[in-house]
Symmetry: C2
Subunit: 346 residues, 2 copies
């Protein structure tokens, strides 16, 4: 049986919210690994908010996906052919192979995973980029102290759930923001946040204020928009705001109506000695070994819980991604692309 590589390409740049027509399913022959490379069968594809940025042409911290190119993304794959001495068929690895069912990758870019240690899909979530984003951004930039209040939105999601639980571990008070009763119950009852506020309710700003009677010392910013508007007045003197995402703004087009709030923001930055710091996790790459060890221990002890939202089949990725931008996922969103083979026949 001749296998083909199913790929999802960027068909056109979205105007505002991405639509299904912005993606295109394609079939191509299986690629051939060269010396130093491996051929991978993709098992899991990670869907993350940052991918919206890659669909646009504007300058950002990474170059955009080109029209007609495979959509970018983190993946877990199983090696089916290897021309790299460190990898053998059957090995399961973390790669950045994008939205496709097979891929060639340089051996040097891969991290081998141990399926006995944790479900391999966690390498895309709590034990991967989102978990590390939470860990490095909260501890290095946010620096919460015991008794301080940490607020994070998308609190049932991949990054937010880790931020709140790590905040608890270091002795801070964790206040989550989530959309809908089901997610809020999960954040409070399963993840153990001290308080949770539903941003769908009409009096969300006053509920948030009530949930933060001592103000806010760390706001881990991953959404922007109306949540920022509600949190900003609550920031205490010397509050820290690590900024890792602005999902509520990614689909914005045009120039927002006035008044211009920038001068007021800067006055508050000055009068309250605020820190605002954008970051991408890779600038803290030297902390990754410590993170893997620490997070695995927290998961083993039950101090960090995680939830995955698994979508079946590569073809479902575009619709699932559109839902992610609207908050329809519940937990870390991953696409199950293929089962992994237990034997070497694959």
């Amino acid at each position: 049986m001749t296998q083909t590589n199913r790929r999802i390409l960027l068909a056109q740049r979205p105007n505002g919210k991405p639509r299904l027509e912005d993606f295109k399913l394609d079939e191509a022959p299986l690629p051939e690994p060269q010396d130093g490379q491996v051929l991978l069968k993709i098992l899991y594809l990670s869907l993350d908010p940052y991918m919206r940025g890659r669909m646009s042409a504007g300058k950002s911290y990474a170059k955009p996906v080109g029209i007609g190119e495979v959509m970018e993304g983190g993946t877990v794959g199983q090696i089916i052919a290897s021309r790299h001495p460190a990898f053998s068929p059957g090995d399961i690895v973390l790669s950045h192979s994008g939205w496709q069912s097979f891929a060639v990758a340089d051996g040097a870019s891969l991290r081998k995973l141990d399926p006995a240690a944790a479900p391999v899909s966690t390498a895309l979530g709590v034990l991967g980029m989102p978990g590390f984003t939470a860990y490095a951004g909260l501890l290095t930039i946010g620096q919460p102290k015991p008794g301080e209040t940490v607020v994070v939105a998308a609190a049932s999601g991949a990054v937010g759930s880790a931020v709140g639980q790590i905040a608890k571990i270091v002795g801070a008070r964790a206040v989550g923001i989530a959309g809908g009763a089901q997610k809020c119950a999960f954040v409070r009852d399963q993840l153990g946040f001290d308080a949770v506020v539903d941003h769908h309710t009409s009096d969300f700003p006053s509920q948030l204020r009530a949930a933060c009677p001592q103000g806010v010392d760390v706001y881990f910013e991953n959404v922007g928009g109306p949540v920022w508007d509600a949190v900003f007045p609550l920031l205490n003197d010397f509050a820290r705001v690590p900024v890792c995402g602005l999902i509520a703004q990614y689909n914005d087009t045009g120039r927002p109506a006035g008044p211009d709030r920038l001068p007021h923001l800067m006055r508050d930055v000055l009068s309250r000695s605020l820190l605002i710091r954008g970051f991408i996790q890779r600038e803290f790459a030297d902390q990754r070994p410590a993170f893997y060890t620490q997070m695995a221990a927290w998961i083993a002890s039950g101090q960090v819980q995680y939830r995955e939202d698994v979508v079946d089949g590569l073809d479902a990725a575009p619709e699932a991604f559109i839902g992610l931008l609207e908050g329809r996922n519940f937990g870390k969103l991953v696409v199950h692309v293929a089962d992994h083979a237990e034997d070497e026949g694959l």
Copy 2:
């Protein structure tokens, strides 16, 4: 001869730009020092942009001056009566006694000055709060590295002149912004900045861009307004923005017209991994001893130059302060309130 205390009070809160009617000259009997206190004759009064904030009722990092109260400010005074064991008549000290000709102060709040080491007025400028603001904000928050570009506005002023010269000392490239040809020549020729741009010129933004061919790594923000607008697009990835003042915005009233630039700012903070950090020098108080030693050495070696703009007589303070907010001073603005006595008869 009975001496009276001449005092300048806040008569009313300004609406926009302060006017002379917002101040009131007053005479009162000389205050009496209690145990642990001293009576001071004020020699120099510092005039600084932050005082505009104290004239308004809004929340800030310090409480506002009350209507009918003496305007706040740093001062150099000479002790004429002491009920504190560490101070004797004739001693010259740094105090925070405000806009008046005499004052009582707690001995514990004073720092004794050595008139032989440096002109005592420098304790209000390059060797005082403004110099320390430059030192702590630039080195602790800005952290310029050799070869990086540091931009500062009000570059002939108390803070800006120190920022650029310290940037040069640590090996960075210093680009100043100043208003008018005379100040620009001083910044370039006397202070030794690598480049200077006049913000009065019509093509200021493009001149600034030309002066920063490698972009901007540290923008020491002390003015806000149109200068911010010109600098912000030039900020490199990982740029740092210590914010110690926003003099161009202090007289603003009402809500600025749109579009709302806040969402765009946050997107750039994220995509360029920017750091924006408001601060007041006193949070870095533990660095003051190192600062006094280091800055005195830099002045002695000629690596740091300073310029004072001395106005004569307390009564001239309101008009001089109004001019400061309009950039009419040239160098650190101080009011010469009285001569210091060389003998103990005072």
